[in-house]
Every structure is written in C-alpha cells, then in structure tokens.
Symmetry: C2
Subunit: 330 residues, 2 copies
C-alpha cells in the first residue's frame, strides 16, 4: 500500500536539492519567480476514476472538480489562478460523446474562473481514466500564505461549512435514504462540485498567518499546519460550521457523526489562522464576500491538534483514530 | 480511439482563451513570464505502463525516461531545465523495493541534469502505473525556439542519429535475434534511456529558426514544423544519420527499413532549421559539444514534408502512410 506522506518524505524530499521554491514539499504549491515583484504558485494534482470520482460520474463534473481542486490549492495560498496544463490519460475505448461533455465542463469552469489551458498531454491507456492538472497562479512576492506561519495565540478560521462533501460521498454510495431530496442533492453536489474560494484567498493576504485548503479532513489538515508551524491547535467541536443539510444528515444517522465531519475530507474550504486583532477585518470580509468565515479554535504552544467539546474536554487528537467517536456535534 | 491531435484542436484549443502563453497548443511548451527578462518554458507529458514503457522495465529507467522525455522538450525550445513537478499514480499493490528503485532513478537524473523536484502529487489507483511530469525551464525573453519560425531556404538539421529507439523497441519486443549483443544492447538502451540534448538546445538560440524534439517520428515531426511555419520541407533519405547499430539492424532485416527509421519516433533528438549561413557555426558547435549535427534537408515554399532519394525523387510525403516503404537507406 502506498503511503503518500511517507513516500514524499522519504523518496521525493531528497529530490528538491534544497531549492527554496519547493517549500520542502510540505506545502500545497511550489513558488517560482515571476515577473516584476511577483511569484508563480504552481500546484499539481492527480485524480483517478474509482479513487477520486466514480467512473460513471457526469464527465463535465469530473472535469470541473479537477479544475476546482487545483484552484482551491491556489486560493488557499493567496494566489490568483491564471493557467492550467492538463494531462488526460483516457481509457482506449472512451467515446466521443464522453469527451465532448468532459471538454464542455472544462470550458465552463475555465470561463467561470478566468483561467486558460496553456499546455498538457493526451494519451490513451489500457487503464481507468487518470487526470493530472498543473495550475499556476500569481501572488505578490513574499505574500503567499504558507502552512508554516501559524503563531501561538492565533485564531483558527474556516470558510464555508465542513463535512458536506464527506456526507455527499456517502449519498453517492447509496446511503442517506432517509434524507430529503433537497438535503441529499445539496450534499451530493458539494461532493461532486467543490467551490474553490478564489475570491477569498487573495483577500487573506496580509490578514492570515498560515493557510491551506481542507482536502484530507479538517483535523488532519490543521495537523499539517501545526507540524509546519511547530505549534499546537485546539479546535472547538461546537463551533464547527455545519450546513443545514449536514445537520439533517447527522440526525438521520448518516456517517459516523463528528468523525465523518472532521476527517472526511474533500471540503475544499480555506482553513487559516490569524491574529485575534484581525477578527473585525475578517468578519467585514465575510460580509463583503457573502461567505461564512467561522472562528473554530486557536493556536497554542506545543504540538498536534486537539478537538474539544463545549467544556474544553479533549474529544480526539492527532491524525486519524476517530473511529470510536460518533456523537453528532449539534 | 483517442486521436490526440484531433482532441487538442477540437476540444482543448478553445480553452486557451487566446492567451499567447499557450502558443495555440501547437508547440511543445507554454511560455509564461519569468523574472527579469526571462520566460519560463513549461511542458507536461504523461506516460503509462503498457503504452510508453513495459510494466516490467527497470523502475529506475522508467523514472529516468520520464525526466528525459520532458527535458528533451525544454532543450529543443532552447530552455535550461530547472524544476520538475511529478504526479505518480501507482498501482495499489506496488512494492517498496520498486518504489525505492524508481526514486533512485529520479535522483540520478535530477543530479545529472541539475533539476529539482519542487512539487507534485502521489496517488494509488486500481490501474496500471501512470506518471505525469511537468518540467520548467528558463529562456531569455523572446529567445525560445518555436515550431513556427522555419523559413523557406533554411537547412533542416538533426542532432545525433535517427531510428535507434524505434529499432530498440523492436529489440525489447523480442525481435532482432540476428543482431550482435553489442548492437542489440545499444539500440535497447537508446529506447529505454533517451539522451535529451540539454547542452545543445540553449546553444541553438540565435542560430536555429524553428526547432522541436523528435518524438512522434522524424517525418511526422518535420510535418509539424511545416504546418506551424506554413512551409514545406524536403528531407534527403541518404543524408539521414544512422548509428552503426541501426545500419546493422536494417541489414539484418529488423523493422521495415526506412519506414521504421523516419516514423518510429521516440528519438528525442533536436530537429531544427537554420539559415544556410549558420552552417559553419553549427559545425563548430557540433565539434565543441562532440555531438553529431547533420544537415538532412531544406525548407521550401509550399506545404508538407517530402522524403527524397539521392536523385531527388519523392519516396514518401505527408504524415503516416509509409507502409509500402521498406528499402533501407544505406
């Protein structure tokens, strides 16, 4: 079994040759010099049928999720997306209608997010569909929001709501029969079509200290910030922003309660830390962008992330291990 | 069946939004603004087991070929390679020893070519191994060697020798029993481990007009230059530079003679055009770099590439269709 984190640390990190552009391979992007006072943030993700999406998912949504997952990485770094390079590894028997709908999804989101495909590669393989996107965004020199700048005393913030996508995956897998059609469809849509916070990300420059997007699960990802920043974090369970649909799904017994919410992943919201003095500015920004920003915890000395209940008692900590832990937060 | 050229033209070209960085998706790289008077040349290739290499090929050679194929694109554009972003889609049951040898191959060539891995993604899939590399190289602004600048009257040049890799593939497939071990091993090595002409490429800036690396086959690739430059080309069969091993293989009946040589592909040599006055400088460069540079033809008004014999009679033209065409050039 391939352990991504082990592989990166053991096999790939030695290949950075100490170049600062790599950010030690512990962040979501590389930063290379750009024109006049700017840097390019470069991120690259791969997605495969049967792993990141279902082979029979609508092709336009597969295309759009591919773009959005990468734009989410750029947004969380404070970068404005500009260019995409796309490698498509199509199954040999793929049909023309599928390709047209896939391209149509690409077009929709390229237009929506004002990004252009500037290169890539197309191959046909005997295996399932595999896609790899390289996304390039611009950020003023030195202004990129990294994982490594969280300070003890910072507040921890999250955009939007958490857990919808993990619950949406369960709906896609045929669970969630007890849900209303509206709720089921909302959650499914959040799984299939994440909304990268491209308007928020660049506005967080100068406000946020550390920042990343939530893809592996909230508690795992705040753990990444803790490790990169050499700090600890306390996340307050009863502050976690849940959508109406997620609350309904938890009440209906979908998933494993809070475990699913904090470790399900695929949220593609921005998780960031900021000094307490930034609170007013952040709330004003939230109102301006009409995007919920919620203070969910704080950065503390030490290491690791701890989830606490309303009385401050530790409910879970570290990475993984939430299996015994299924009480809903509401 | 996926037709790469059709897909790019029909589905992906509309996604460039007219951005000049894309070079209309008809070149091997995109060019984005870099620091102070420079541009970044960015290329992205995908390779899959069972398509671009054999699943049981040595993992270090798979890794090194992946790097070299991309560096060849950069070299042919006159760019100096700096950074790599690597997406690895490993089969779920891949073993640790394989991964170590793969990483060791990456390390060898990162050191050799002085490039650093600065990002990427690692996933596990139910399918065969798929790899995608994004390579980034630097070129002075406006100095990149494109496919589109060939001029009528130019000479057509080729680095190294042509056809070794196509013959090496046949050896890998178990043909070539009649060859000496030395010749078979030479050809196999040329197939498995191309030598990107990274020293030559940047030195061609200011000398070459149009340039690209030979990956699809010599005659197909000069056709790409013709289309991009709106010119024709005449390639002289008896000028094609063949290795001793390739000559021996053709004599032994391996492959389909000249057809295999000019359409086999995977050569990863630089094919370029230059004004006749550049000949002395190119021959001096050839001597300096100890790398064969051979004048193989000329650019003419019109369109399409024509292969001619020693008497100037057309032997083949256009893209593909060399099936009836098996006389050796020697």
């Amino acid at each position: 079994m391939v352990d991504e984190f082990d592989l990166i640390k053991r096999l790939f990190a030695p290949l950075t040759a100490g170049r600062p552009e790599a950010l030690g391979l512990i962040d979501d992007v590389a930063l290379i010099p750009g024109p006049a006072g700017h840097q390019w943030a470069v991120t690259k993700d791969a997605m495969a049928a049967g792993v990141h999406f279902f082979p029979d998912d609508p092709p336009d949504l597969i295309a759009r999720k591919l773009i959005r997952v990468n734009l989410s990485d750029l947004a969380a770094k404070g970068a404005e997306p500009q260019f995409l390079l796309l490698a498509t590894c199509f199954p040999r028997d793929i049909d023309a209608g599928w390709l047209d709908r896939f391209a149509s999804g690409l077009k929709t989101d390229c237009d929506l997010f004002k990004v252009a495909v500037i290169g890539g590669d197309t191959i046909a393989t005997p295996g399932p569909l595999v896609l790899s996107l390289t996304a390039v965004g611009m950020v003023p020199e030195g202004a990129a929001l990294l994982r490594s700048n969280a300070c003890s005393g910072d507040h921890v913030w999250l955009s939007g709501t958490v857990g919808d996508s993990a619950l949406g995956l369960l709906v896609a897998q045929g669970e969630g029969k007890g849900l209303s059609e509206t709720d089921a469809s909302y959650l499914l849509n959040r799984y299939r079509l994440p909304r990268p916070r491209v308007a928020l990300g660049p506005r967080l420059r100068g406000l946020a200290h550390a920042s990343m997007d939530v893809s592996d699960g909230l508690l795992g990802d705040i753990g990444h910030i803790c490790r990169a920043s050499k700090v600890g974090a306390v996340i307050e369970a009863d502050r976690l922003p849940l959508s109406t649909a997620a609350r309904a799904a938890l009440s209906a017994g979908l998933g494993e309660g809070l475990t699913t919410i904090v470790s399900g992943g695929d949220d593609y919201e921005i998780l960031f830390t900021a000094a307490p003095e930034a609170e007013d500015a952040l709330l004003a920004l939230s109102a301006e962008l009409d995007l919920e920003l919620t203070r969910i915890g704080r950065i503390v000395p030490g290491e690791g992330a701890t989830l606490v209940d309303a009385e401050g008692r530790a409910m879970a900590s570290g990475r993984g291990g939430y299996n015994h832990f299924s009480g809903g937060p509401a």
